[in-house]
């Protein structure tokens, strides 16, 4: 290898090292708030005002106090039920509709298609006023239905599924069609098993979005027995006062399920964002 090439290679390596160094510095900066929250939660309340990092003897007292004194476990159940219902419902109705749009020929298909396309433009947040009156009239305020039902017909989910189905080769169904299999059978036995990546992406996104949603659940869930985690945390936020360890413990408890989902499905989440047709 020539001297020049060696020097060029050295410069590239040095440049890469500097880049990674800068990136690690930022990544650590990003982790500090989480680490500090965890650190605080593991202290007794009296010591949280001391800004020392070292935790000489970590204690889980704050966690047990939060579990005992707030309804956080009830909120967990509520969030879990609502998020699961929303995710499962969205996957089911969106994939069925997308299958029809991708594989069937029928009159007004374009009309339906453009109607769904239009729905992507409507932000749910502008619908809170009509939704409130609607659910009030239906007598469904303070129920799980009021939170999940509006989240199920997600236009973007139909597009994610349709794009995925459009990419599946038609030959797969030919044989089944010749054998006289019904559309429903093809959908259940052939299409959906192949669509697992799309199912994972839509399910995870709906779940996370539903779990984190605040504005709408805040309006319809005023009964502490069925509040979701974000509503519950927003409501009790002031009541902790200066008990910072308890506040941070409740924040961490509220985040645990999603952190678990993230660690389990890291690949799906990242690929879901990257490959779900969101890429443009």
């Amino acid at each position: 290898m020539t001297d020049l090439a060696q020097r060029a290679e050295f410069r590239v390596k040095l440049f890469n090292r500097i880049c990674i160094g800068v990136l690690i510095a930022f990544a650590l900066l990003w982790i500090v708030p989480l680490a500090w929250a965890l650190d605080t939660a593991l202290k007794p309340n009296a010591e949280t005002t001391k800004t020392t990092w070292a935790i000489a003897d970590p204690t889980l007292d704050a966690f047990s106090r939060v579990l005992r004194d707030t309804d956080i476990l009830t909120w967990f159940g509520s969030s879990l039920f609502i998020a699961t219902l929303s995710a499962a419902g969205t996957v089911l109705v969106a994939s069925l509709a997308a299958y029809a749009l991708s594989r069937m020929r029928f009159r007004y298909r374009n009309v339906v298609f453009w109607l769904v396309l239009a729905g992507i433009m409507i932000p749910g947040q502008v619908l809170i006023v009509p939704w409130f009156r609607q659910f009030d009239a239906l007598g469904l305020l303070n129920t799980w239905w009021a939170v999940s039902l509006p989240q199920i017909p997600t236009a973007i989910a139909v597009f994610i599924f349709k794009q995925f189905f459009d990419g599946l080769p038609r030959e797969l169904e030919e044989v089944a069609r010749m054998d006289g299999a019904s559309y429903l059978r093809i959908y259940r036995r052939i299409i959906m098993p192949l669509a697992r990546p799309a199912v994972a992406a839509v399910a995870i996104f709906t779940f996370v979005q539903s779990w984190n949603d605040l504005l709408w659940p805040l309006l319809v869930l005023s009964n502490p027995d069925i509040m979701t985690i974000p509503v519950g945390l927003a409501t009790v936020q002031g009541s902790f006062g200066i008990r910072y360890a308890d506040t941070m413990a409740s924040a961490i408890l509220g985040a645990i399920p999603l952190v678990a989902v993230f660690l389990l499905f890291q690949r799906n989440i990242v690929e879901g964002i990257a490959g779900s047709g969101l890429k443009g």
Partner: protein
């Protein structure tokens, strides 16, 4: 995002298919579409139209029915109200403060992470993990970080002899503080979109250009940035729309204060509709906000169309 599908005639893929498949399949199609379409009409299209109707009436939350017809009264009132304009400005100010950093930092971090041979999972974890936290959790952590007298940020800055402002308590600083929190919280999403975009750029382009003697900076300017054009358009529009919809952070961290300095447009809708019970007026404000979102989406569509023609 899905314009490609939207633009292509849906039947194109089926041309040349055996005639057997051209049977009229209206009935099964109806069955497949019904569950989605019923919910969609009931909870998206219906309420949109209902909201539009309501915005022309003096509808109250505490009385049934639409109440008196107001014509464009709610709209003219909103457009003449200084509270409406100030909350619209706060929303815009928040969008201006968050969008450029969330695009530029996400791009820079993705570019750097793309060079890392090991430990990509670590960067994904560090930057993306905050994104999945509920806003209430993020708010609780950051209220604590900003607490005057003992918050970590103040303590850290004091070590380098910088006196912190009262982050959330000072009307001038409250919005930048909320923006900082939001950047920390949501950067990961754009970061992942950029990482995905970077992986699609053919390696040969870089190899060819380095043989021609291009420096790293030249490669970034001449190859990476242009090739990521579509990703940037997407990130920018998603970001602007997300920022316009801000509510959670402000509701929990500042309740729109101090002195209404951080009241966003959605918080204004919330206040008018559910504190003052004027849902007709709140519906009119929602519609005006919807127009802003539509305008942003329209600009995005125009940009994507142009980019597709160029490619």
């Amino acid at each position: 995002m899905t314009t490609e599908t939207a633009v292509r005639p849906p039947d194109a893929a089926e041309s040349g298919a055996p005639p057997e498949r051209h049977r009229w399949t209206g009935l099964p199609a109806l069955g497949f579409l019904a569950p989605f379409m019923i919910l969609y009409l009931a909870f998206i299209i219906g309420p949109t139209l209902y909201g539009l109707v309501m915005s022309f009436f003096d509808t109250s939350l505490v009385k049934p029915g639409l109440s008196g017809f107001a014509g464009f009264g709610n709209y003219t009132e909103a457009l003449q109200s200084s509270d409406f304009w100030s909350s619209l400005w706060h929303t815009l100010w928040f969008t201006i403060l968050t969008t450029p950093p969330l695009i530029i930092l996400a791009f820079a971090f993705a570019l750097l992470a793309d060079r890392a041979r090991y430990g990509r999972w670590f960067f994904r974890l560090a930057f993306f993990a905050p994104f999945i936290l509920p806003s209430a959790v993020v708010a609780l952590i950051w209220i604590f970080l900003y607490t005057p007298g003992l918050g970590l940020i103040e303590t850290a800055l004091a070590k380098v002899s910088i006196t912190s402002p009262n982050w959330l308590g000072d009307p001038v600083w409250a919005m930048p503080s909320l923006a900082m929190t939001t950047i920390w919280w949501t950067l990961g999403f754009n970061f992942v979109l950029y990482l995905a975009g970077l992986q699609e750029i053919p390696r040969e382009l870089y190899e060819a250009s380095s043989i021609d003697g291009a420096s790293v900076w030249q490669q970034i300017r001449k190859i990476t940035i242009p090739m990521l054009g579509r990703t940037t358009t997407l990130v920018a529009v998603l970001q602007v729309i997300a920022s316009l919809k801000v509510f959670d952070q402000m509701y929990i961290m500042t309740s729109g204060g101090p002195n209404f300095a951080t009241r966003s447009i959605l918080e204004y809708v919330y206040d008018q509709g559910f504190t003052n019970f004027r849902v007709g007026y709140a519906a009119a404000v929602s519609m005006l906000f919807f127009l802003v979102v539509l305008a942003v989406s329209a600009v995005w569509f125009a940009l994507v169309r142009r980019q597709e023609k160029e490619v």
